[in-house]
């Protein structure tokens, strides 16, 4: 039973909560929700960038999706990109974070070396990788040849262009996830590990049974953020391949950009953005259902 004072306490707690959320909500409403609402409105209309004439279309933009081969291709590319990049990058990141969560000599240098790719502006990083992937004379091909494997045309080859971008993304994002995981590891009480070690638990068992559960809230965060980020992959595609060859690297966000800014087709671009939002929302809900329950919080 909620009694008078308890009820009052609960109401004041809720009031405080809304007050704390208010600053964020003001800005989110202006710069996120308003664009989303407009995007929903646009998706039912024919809207041309640069013109203020708008025509009602009903569901025509959504119907277009079914027959738009490029939409399905870019969706497929995006899913493939995500399913490979995120597990790889997070695994590498976790191992790096565990290794670098210690007083290793040269630790600052190691951490910087793995994190710096995040800092390189995408136009510059994209250019560098265009060179690294160069056919024949590029360093990656030289390395492959040294291992006795056949050279690959990478960005010029529709089969290899997307894997090339995935590989580069792992280079780019592993350090990013590493940093977040490192922060989580730093917050684990050290005595837990000490105790386990004294009990003779092996390093791998400690990783699986102590470290991973203890940082599971952050791991959960990283997986979700990874999924979301991978849908934003755009800059590299734009700089390196422009979606080609033969649309092999066209991903959804690039396709949205193309439709909205190049083709001026704001209505269709909004439709694509909304579909992406629904899709990602569904995916995140799924992740939340599967992983969310297994997350252990030290707090309540």
């Amino acid at each position: 039973m909620v009694t008078g004072p308890a009820l009052r306490a609960r109401v004041s707690e809720a009031g405080l909560a809304y007050l704390l959320l208010l600053p964020s909500l003001v800005f989110l409403a202006t710069f996120t929700y308003w664009p989303i609402l407009r995007s929903i409105y646009f998706s039912f209309h024919d809207v041309v960038l640069g013109s203020n004439k708008i025509y009602f279309l009903g569901f025509e933009n959504y119907e277009r999706l079914w027959t738009d081969k490029l939409f399905w291709k870019s969706l497929g590319n995006t899913v493939f990109y995500t399913l490979v990049t995120i597990p790889c990058a997070i695994t590498v990141a976790l191992l790096l974070a565990v290794a670098l969560d210690s007083k290793l000599r040269g630790m600052t240098f190691y951490r910087s070396a793995f994190f710096y790719p995040v800092m390189i502006p995408s136009v510059a990083a994209g250019m560098v990788w265009v060179f690294l992937y160069a056919p024949g004379y590029g360093p990656i091909n030289s390395a492959i040849a040294a291992l006795g494997l056949p050279k690959v045309e990478w960005l010029y080859d529709a089969r290899w262009a997307l894997p090339a971008i995935i590989f580069m993304s792992i280079w780019k994002y592993a350090g990013y996830f590493m940093l977040i995981l490192l922060a989580a590891l730093q917050m684990i009480p050290a005595d837990l590990h000490e105790a386990a070690k004294l009990d003779g638990v092996s390093a791998i068992d400690r990783l699986i049974h102590i470290t991973v559960p203890l940082i599971s809230p952050t791991l959960y965060f990283v997986i979700i953020i990874g999924l979301l980020h991978s849908y934003q992959i755009f800059d590299y595609v734009y700089v390196m391949t422009q979606g080609g060859p033969a649309d092999a690297t066209n991903v959804l966000t690039f396709y949205i950009y193309q439709n909205g800014f190049q083709y001026q087709d704001i209505g269709y671009a909004s439709t694509l953005a909304n579909v992406l939002l629904l899709f990602v929302g569904g995916l995140i809900t799924l992740v939340a259902l599967v992983f969310g329950r297994r997350v252990h919080y030290l707090g309540r």
Binding site: V48, S51, A134, P135, G136, Y137, L155, G244, A246, D247
Partner: protein, 435 residues
């Protein structure tokens, strides 16, 4: 406990002060266009970086010269990124009814801007000057629609055939190919394989803009593959051009795909002996290659043919007469004989006026860099590039068709038919919407 103190705790005080200063300073730094004396007309000019980083400096120098010479006009130059970025920035500003007075898009965007009813018609103004007489006709045409002039060409370019002169010498080839057949033969002779592994391609067609170069091949087959309301990619001349590309790929002398950036690198690294790329790249390729770079006409088939990249200075329609007049004065000055002669020499773009090519400075430059002349001569055969509504999407359809054909996934005629159908459907949609 106040919000402020929370922050000073989590971040160091210095950061707090810095941040507070940032917010305060940024409010003060708000730099709206400073309204000059009331009798001065303010003109904004948005331009892309076409050929090199120094463009920012070159343009600012030109602008300050212009401003110094014109008491009543003040031009503000705004760098707006790549051609794409510039177009997007202008169109976004158009959407809120606040476009810049002048801007410099790629010429293919002509129909796009006309579709937005954004361009001032300058035909009558131009007729009062020597523009129709002195501009090189192939360049002027890129700013003309239905007989009306919508801007002044400022920095035209065309694709040309670059070749590695050292490689030619080593292979005993005396002169660049003039016909498609010779192109195939020379490419074969220049392709190098060791133990079955490719060391050097004979020829590379710069990817990313290969649709632009493909239009040149169509024009060399005496076909302009578009009119202002439809594309003609499915005509036999176009299919024949693509079949020739397939032949080059099947002969193993040309890679089936490349990127714009990558192909220029490949040429500089000696990975390809010949390269189709923009004249705008001349300075970069010439000064960055460790061998002698030479330039030739794109080989002909039925005829020589090329199409224009680069763009005209366009003037916004919805502004006061005084502003249009000031914009016109600016555009005219930017395309005047001496300014164009200087601009062409500084950047490698083609000067738009016949008289610019006859200035003493230009003649001296041509002696030093005779390659620059090739593109000029070729431009006698050049026309505008794909000036159809929705050209971006049409380009994507065409590029996709070319890529898939060269990768062997689809036959040339089927691919081009599909691209033409898709493009024409899109163009029709846009035209219907416009009316």
């Amino acid at each position: 406990m106040s919000v402020k103190s929370t922050i000073s705790h989590i971040s160091r005080r210095g950061v707090l002060l810095g941040g507070a200063a940032a917010v305060a300073a940024s409010a003060g730094l708000r730099s709206r266009p400073a309204y000059a004396a009331p009798d001065k007309v303010k003109v904004q000019f948005m331009y892309p970086v076409g050929v090199s980083g120094d463009i920012n400096k070159l343009v600012s120098t030109m602008i300050s010269k212009f401003n110094a010479a014109h008491e009543k006009i003040e031009v503000e130059a705004i760098y707006a990124g790549s051609y794409d970025n510039t177009e997007q920035k202008v169109i976004t500003a158009l959407g809120v009814g606040d476009p810049p007075a002048t801007w410099l898009p790629i010429n293919s965007a002509l129909q796009t801007f006309l579709g937005l009813d954004a361009l001032a018609d300058v035909t009558d103004k131009a007729k009062k000057t020597d523009i129709y007489q002195d501009f090189i006709p192939g360049f002027l045409e890129t700013a003309v629609s239905d007989g009306k002039l919508y801007g002044l060409p400022f920095q035209p370019s065309t694709p040309v055939l670059y070749f590695n002169a050292d490689a030619f010498k080593a292979a005993g080839i005396a002169k660049p190919p003039v016909t498609w057949d010779e192109l195939l033969e020379v490419s074969k002779a220049l392709t190098v394989r060791e133990n079955g592994e490719l060391k050097r391609w004979g020829l590379t067609i710069g990817g990313g803009w290969h649709d632009w170069i493909f239009e040149c091949f169509c024009r060399q087959n005496a076909l302009v593959p578009w009119t202002k309301d439809k594309v003609l990619f499915d005509k036999p001349e176009a299919v024949d051009a693509l079949e020739f590309w397939v032949k080059l790929v099947k002969a193993g002398v040309m890679p089936p795909a490349s990127t714009w950036q990558g192909s220029a690198n490949d040429f500089m690294a000696g990975r390809t002996a010949m390269l189709y790329h923009s004249t705008g790249s001349l300075t970069n390729l010439r000064t960055s290659s460790p061998f002698k770079v030479d330039v030739a006409f794109m080989p002909k088939n039925k005829t020589f043919g090329a199409c224009q990249g680069g763009g005209p200075i366009m003037i916004a329609k919805k502004q006061s007469d005084a502003a249009i007049e000031a914009s016109w004065t600016f555009a005219k000055w930017m395309t005047s004989t001496d300014v164009q002669s200087q601009w062409g020499r500084d950047t490698g773009y083609l000067a738009v006026r016949k008289s610019s090519w006859e200035t003493p400075e230009m003649l001296a430059y041509l002696k030093e860099v005779p390659q620059a002349k090739v593109a000029l001569e070729q431009s006698a055969y050049a026309g505008a590039f794909l000036q159809v509504p929705g050209y971006h999407k049409v380009r994507e359809y065409l590029k996709s068709a070319l890529d898939r054909t060269l990768a062997g996934e689809i036959k040339p005629d089927a691919a081009l038919k599909e691209a033409a159908d898709n493009s024409n459907r899109e163009i029709q949609r846009l035209l219907r919407r416009r009316s």
